[in-house]
């Protein structure tokens, strides 16, 4: 059938979609473009330069913010992925699980509440406990809101997996642990991986919680960038943003490719 006569096509949708993608990518492109600007004033083009990248990479406050963010993200990702995997195995595979629906809602609770409310809850909790270590506070708070993001892809993968494979392993006298390690885990690994990836990105990107709890020497990357934006637009800020985008695109692409694996 020719596209012109295809009754499912609507005139103008194509052009509209192209304009939409331009809109989606224009702001990001503007940041990248101006990061190569030699001029100190962002919107006055003064020629191509990598100067702001070298300034950014030798900025010790930035490097320490990246280190803080990475440390918190690694802790939060590890714990949230492990506990989410345990919960998903019970919720999807468990027999005679009482309160299955409620258990699932509890795991997904951080998705149902606005993040600022969850952040306020953490702030009050830590102030009551007298906890002052900034890294520890953020690691705990990030673990909590990363759990549903790790949980959902793992659960989806488990639901898509043939339960008979596990049964077969058990019928062949594999212990529960061996069946899990040799059959279930390898099959759901892409789900575990994309869950961990999502948790990692959510933690690295978090601003609301990290900003509200910001004290005790735990300034994360988004909180540091926020303080730079408050000081005003600068070419160095554009260079930092471009580097962050580069890292996110790399992560997103890896996650996307792993998900596509059958």
């Amino acid at each position: 059938m020719k596209s012109g006569s295809d009754v499912r096509r609507y005139p103008g949708f194509g052009l509209f979609s192209i304009l939409f993608f331009v809109y989606l990518y224009l702001p990001i492109s503007v940041v990248i473009f101006y990061s190569f600007n030699a001029n100190r004033i962002v919107s006055n083009w003064g020629g191509f330069s990598l100067h702001w990248y070298t300034t950014a990479l030798s900025n010790s406050a930035l490097v320490s913010a990246v280190k803080t963010s990475l440390l918190i993200a690694v802790i939060a990702t590890t714990i949230s992925t492990i506990v989410a995997l345990m919960a998903a195995l019970v919720i999807v595979r468990g027999r005679d699980v009482r309160f299955r629906r409620i258990s699932e809602t509890i795991v997904n609770l951080p998705l149902l509440l606005p993040e600022i409310v969850v952040a306020v809850a953490s702030l009050i909790l830590f102030s009551q406990l007298g906890l002052v270590n900034g890294i520890m506070k953020l690691a705990i708070a990030h673990t909590t809101f990363c759990i549903p993001f790790a949980f959902l892809p793992i659960r989806a993968r488990l639901q898509g997996m043939d339960a008979n494979l596990e049964e077969a392993a058990r019928d062949l006298y594999a212990s529960a642990w061996v069946a899990f390690r040799r059959v279930t885990l390898p099959l759901i690994l892409p789900g575990v991986f994309s869950g961990a990836m999502l948790a990692f990105v959510i933690s690295m990107d978090d601003f609301i919680t990290s900003n509200l709890l910001n004290s005790g020497g735990a300034t994360t990357l988004p909180v540091y960038i926020f303080s730079l934006i408050k000081q005003g637009v600068s070419p160095q800020l554009n260079a930092i943003s471009t580097l962050i985008m580069l890292a996110s695109v790399a992560l997103a692409t890896i996650a996307f490719l792993v998900q596509r694996q059958k």
């Binding site: 009754v7 499912r8 609507y10 103008g12 949708f13 194509g14 509209f16 979609s17 939409f20 989606l24 990518y25 702001p27 990001i28 004033i41 919107s43 345990m86 919960a87 019970v90 468990g94 005679d96 009482r98 258990s103 509890i106 795991v107 951080p110 998705l111 149902l112 509440l113 606005p114 993040e115 600022i116 409310v117 306020v120 809850a121 953490s122 702030l123 009050i124 909790l125 759990i147 993001f149 959902l152 058990r170 019928d171 690295m204 990107d205 609301i208 900003n211 509200l212 988004p222 926020f226 800020l237 554009n238 943003s241 962050i244 985008m245 996110s248 695109v249 992560l251 997103a252 996307f256």
Partner: protein
């Protein structure tokens, strides 16, 4: 079949860590928020457990010197603005998303995957960077002002930054991928034969769109509306960076109370209003579809 030895302990053991974490770091603390919202403000920030309903009165009234209450709508305006901006954002996202999602679904599989990847990609890019990019575009001497001047259309203009319009632009830009994905998913489930049948029965393109396609895409649109509306209600970055200090939404108003304003009980009371708004909306629209669509989205 081998007889399986049932160990009921495994179920409890597997769920224990997540449930303990949620109980200790979320459920109990949210309970404490309720307590704080009925507490007295501490002298240097924080709070004291002395029962009072003052924080809720403060949302509506100013307290005068002699304790008389004077109606002050400043916080009500913030609450109304939050609801209104979130609703407008949701409607704009709906209008923009449908043609795009429909167009993507008509492409051949490889292109379809590529386009969906392009829709999700900005969502992985740091939220703060995406909001910041609009400061460069809308700000004084920004991209829009420079372009219009270069075209000779204007000599100078007021900054587009800081206000309802800038916030709206930022909100739509931030959350639109969350609308496209569920709509796309529901268009994909649509049987093309239904569209062709409508045409065979002399339904024009417009009638088919209105009577066949749109009704069948309603679940996706509803899910998308929830996925956009709910995070909009709690938005913090967009109002802080694009709204300026004066035009606030509930998210940055709460942040202010726990930060510079040092009025925790009022912040807690507004948090509960926000939470109530979200929960009412979620319960009204049905939790199940949200869960389902969130799953498809993160897949």
């Amino acid at each position: 079949m081998t007889r399986r030895v049932k160990i009921p302990g495994w179920n409890v053991l597997g769920l224990l860590p997540t449930h303990v974490i949620m109980l200790l770091t979320l459920i109990i603390p949210v309970g404490i928020i309720i307590l704080v919202s009925f507490s007295t403000r501490g002298p240097y920030g924080g709070f004291e457990y002395v029962f009072t309903t003052a924080p809720y009165k403060q949302i509506l009234f100013n307290e005068g010197w002699t304790g008389e209450l004077e109606f002050n709508p400043q916080y009500l305006i913030v609450i109304a603005r939050t609801l209104l901006l979130s609703a407008i954002t949701t409607v704009i996202c709906l209008l923009l998303s449908f043609p795009v999602a429909y167009f993507i679904s008509l492409q051949k599989p490889s292109l379809k995957i590529a386009l969906i990847y392009l829709v999700t990609l900005p969502f992985w890019v740091s939220m703060i960077v995406r909001v910041y990019s609009w400061i460069i575009i809308l700000g004084k001497e920004g991209v829009i002002e420079k372009t219009l001047r270069a075209l000779g259309l204007i000599d100078s203009m007021d900054s587009l930054l800081f206000g309802d319009t800038a916030m709206l632009i930022g909100l739509v830009y931030s959350y639109i991928p969350l609308m496209i994905l569920p709509i796309f998913a529901s268009i994909e489930k649509l049987d093309p034969a239904l569209v062709e049948a409508s045409h065979d029965l002399y339904g024009s393109r417009l009638v088919t769109l209105r009577r066949v396609i749109l009704p069948l895409c309603q679940p996706g649109m509803l899910a998308g509306a929830i996925l956009v509306f709910v995070p909009c209600l709690g938005a913090v970055l967009e109002p802080t960076l694009l709204g300026g200090g004066k035009t606030m939404m509930m998210g940055n108003l709460i942040q202010l109370q726990f930060g510079a304003a040092r009025n925790w009980p009022l912040g807690a009371a507004i948090s509960l209003v926000l939470m109530a708004a979200v929960l009412i909306f979620l319960v009204a629209r049905g939790l199940r579809s949200v869960r389902k669509e969130t799953r498809e989205l993160t897949l």
